[in-house]
Symmetry: C2
Subunit: 288 residues, 2 copies
């Protein structure tokens, strides 16, 4: 059995514990700081061992996964690194990677192996009460090795996420951050802005929101604290994407306001292109 | 039994036929122009009578519902009006109302009663093959009476949609158009623009789209022809909403780029307000 240390007791940490136990290949040790979190984890019977003692959780662990907000990762890893055995592999589940990989690799040094991960699942929910073994099934996990990453550690992390049910893709940390700015952070900003436009222009209109509005804005229901951190850490790629969004809206407004005889065909081209690209999205994940 | 004439064989017309038959209170007469549509309707056993002869479908009808694109409504109603009995009630399912209500009321005059409707369901799908009796269950139908509408006709239309499973709300045609510009047309534009931003900035990023991106952009999969017409007809309220969207995005970009000590708390306020408003949306419809 592989000893798996999961540091952080939220939706991702809890679901990871359940998914790992489902394979029958891991003994799962879960760390949480707060007494309430510990008792919740015990009540839900989510890990094999649950503790607020990092030494207990990390000693002898083959693999440690940081499942806390990215701002809390460096200090926790500094403490955990004192207890993890030489050669242990460390990863994280942070939604941004360039800064995280740089900071955490500096802490693990040559003794431990750090490889960044970003399982793209469950971002609109929080709390261990929503944890489920199937959270990762069919979702994409982006693994972000760098030049100095040990190939064996990269392979181990890839295999680990595949066992959790993910489809694994490799990107550099910088490519990752630009990619998620486009497909995750910009949609979040757009969803939140859309809700606020409607609220401010005519709040009664929200009573008429149908399934289209509900889906378009679903991600705006995510944790403001978590998303403030994510959007701040990834602000440069996000600013670029948001400027591109404004340009694209401006392009359509110009089309709409113009009186060219080819307006209908140009609007139709705009919407057709979007439909073609939207329809090409990979098959939906099994479980959402 | 009420004789119901449904003019137009698409998703809405077909679903309406199924929903009306489910009540056991209507004989459903369906009109379609094309032979392929007629044979598809027969094959699916969707109406009690199916025909491409407007006279046959409209003669003796108590209620007629126009389920064709808004641009095709006036000429079809001009023809249908010759066969509908005096006092018959006419409605439509168009997604825009001010122009439709004005044009169709002018055709029905004093002999027939026109009251506009907009059942907010199924806009991202097309074709009678997707029709189902439950399409309207739990959805909102906006009914748009005007000053000269006969109270009895308004009540009849309200009751009709409630029997179809809708929750009915009343708005003036102009209030309707401003409301749907915000909760339906702007989200469609935003979803299409978001897909096109990602495609144009980094088309490989689409391979990493998760459930968040999929939901945020789902409506962009709707029929480009249908949406070109809807967005064009409602272009003035839509332009205003799209400008407000640009302003809101600009507000967030400024926040993100600034270096004020209160940046985190102001970003958190922005996202928290959006979450609060999003979480307040009325209970999801039963069937989507």
């Amino acid at each position: 059995m592989t000893k798996l240390a999961i540091i952080g007791p939220g939706l991702l940490g809890g679901s990871l514990a359940l998914a790992a136990r489902r394979t029958g290949q891991f003994t799962v040790h879960l760390w949480a700081r707060r007494a309430e979190a510990l008792s919740e984890l015990c009540g839900l019977n989510i890990g094999d061992h649950v503790s607020n003692d990092l030494e207990e959780v990390c000693t002898g662990a083959d693999l440690a996964v940081l499942c806390v907000p990215v701002g809390a990762m460096p200090s926790l890893l500094e403490q955990a690194a004192r207890f993890l055995p030489a050669g242990a592999i460390v990863t994280d589940v942070g939604s941004v990677k360039a800064g995280v990989v740089r900071d955490l690799s500096a802490i693990t040094g040559d003794t431990l192996h750090f490889v960044g991960s970003h399982p793209m699942a469950g971002s609109e929910q929080t709390g261990v009460h929503a944890a489920r073994a199937t959270l990762f099934d069919g979702s994409v996990c982006i693994v972000t090795p760098v030049q100095h990453s040990a190939p064996g550690a990269v392979l181990a992390i890839r295999t680990f996420w595949e066992k959790m049910g993910c489809s694994v893709r490799m990107l550099s940390p910088e490519e990752h951050d630009q990619t998620v700015a486009l497909v995750s952070h910009l949609p979040h900003l757009v969803a939140a802005a859309l809700v606020e436009v409607v609220s401010s222009q005519n709040s009664r209109a929200l009573d008429f929101a149908g399934p289209g509005f509900r889906d378009t804005t679903r991600v705006a229901g995510g944790s403001p604290e978590m998303w403030t951190e994510i959007l701040t850490v990834n602000r440069e790629p996000l600013q670029k994407s948001a400027e591109a969004m404004i340009e694209k809206l401006r392009e359509f407004i110009t089309l709409l306001g113009g009186d060219h005889p080819d307006r209908p065909s140009r609007m139709n081209d705009f919407l057709t292109q979007a439909k073609v690209h939207r329809d090409r999205l990979r098959t939906p994940r099994i479980q959402s």
